[in-house]
């Protein structure tokens, strides 16, 4: 089983992607999608040098929902800053010390930071132990770091167990 389907989440994602692209769920498209979802991971497995396992799938779903809510919040936040007529913004470049290891969790954390209120991840430190964050309007940089740690990094640590 592990030989035939080496990356089950990836196969599931490919199947969903195929069905969405066809915009149709019939026996024929499902069968072709199933074949592709098994063959493509087998063929491209050698190119994956970042083995990652999803330990807590339910927590990942919860993380995704939190992320969706935060995207809406961040949109309103930025909209307010843009529409405020003469509000002085206080940007800051903040160092964020990483507790996570592994390239996939760090990538997910960096993307999350870019999508959530007021912050964009700008650069990964050369040693891979810290992220450089640009915050658009921040009074207390330490609080921002703590919030990201509490809200996202803790959950990612649990999901990927690293």
């Amino acid at each position: 089983m592990t030989k035939l389907i080496p990356a089950p989440w990836w196969s599931a994602f490919l199947l969903c992607f195929w069905l969405l692209l066809q915009n149709d769920v019939s026996v024929g498209t499902s069968l072709l999608g199933l074949i592709l979802a098994i063959l493509i991971p087998l063929y491209t497995l050698r190119a994956r040098d970042y083995p990652t396992t999803l330990h807590r799938p339910l927590l990942a779903v919860q993380y995704f929902l939190i992320l969706l809510v935060d995207i809406v919040v961040s949109n309103l936040d930025i909209a307010l800053i843009i529409l405020m007529p003469r509000k002085r913004i206080q940007p800051a470049l903040i160092e964020f010390p990483l507790d996570l290891t592994g390239s996939v969790p760090i990538t997910i954390l960096a993307s999350t930071i870019s999508l959530t209120p007021g912050t964009i991840s700008a650069e990964l430190g050369r040693d891979g132990r810290s992220l450089l964050i640009h915050a658009l309007n921040v009074q207390d940089p330490e609080a921002t770091v703590q919030q990201i740690k509490q809200r996202y990094e803790r959950r990612l640590k649990e999901i990927f167990q690293c």
Binding site: F17, L20, L21, Q22, N23, I71, V72, S74, N75, I78, A79, I81, I82, L83, R88, I89, Q90, P91, A92, L93, I94, E95, A110, S111, T112, S114, L115, G118, I120, S121, A122, E123, G125, R126, D127, S130, L132, H134, L136, P141
Partner: protein, 120 residues
């Protein structure tokens, strides 16, 4: 356009107006924020919700008038995955070119050489 039931009409209109407003605000931010790193915030965040709203409207419209349709979700998923990546690369380019930042930016880098991209 075909005739729609009342609730679908209102809901689709709501999503489309929401999406268009956010896309507009994002572009406005691109025009009027003071420095490059600040300008980067507006389009990356607001276009995800802007396109998201339009995609929701389109999905509802075609599901109501035609067969059940979800494939517009692909565009939303794709933008959702790629917006942070292009923002990250552009931020890297901005840092690398050492563009001037707004004068009340607090630079809290302890070791700035940690984040340079130059080969040394």
């Amino acid at each position: 356009m075909t005739d729609l039931p009342q609730w679908a009409d209102l809901l689709i209109s709501f999503f489309i107006v929401l999406g268009a407003s956010f896309a507009f605000i994002g572009s406005l931010g691109l025009l009027r924020l003071p420095d490059f790193m600040a300008r980067l915030h507006a389009p990356t965040k607001n276009t995800t919700l802007g396109v998201g709203g339009v995609v929701m409207g389109s999905m509802l419209y075609f599901s109501v008038t035609d067969a059940f349709s979800l494939h517009e979700l692909l565009i939303a998923i794709f933008l959702f995955l790629t917006a942070p990546i292009s923002a990250h690369l552009l931020a890297k380019a901005g840092l690398h070119l050492e563009l001037e930042l707004n004068e009340n930016t607090k630079d809290l880098r302890k070791k700035p050489e940690q984040y340079t991209d130059k080969d040394s």
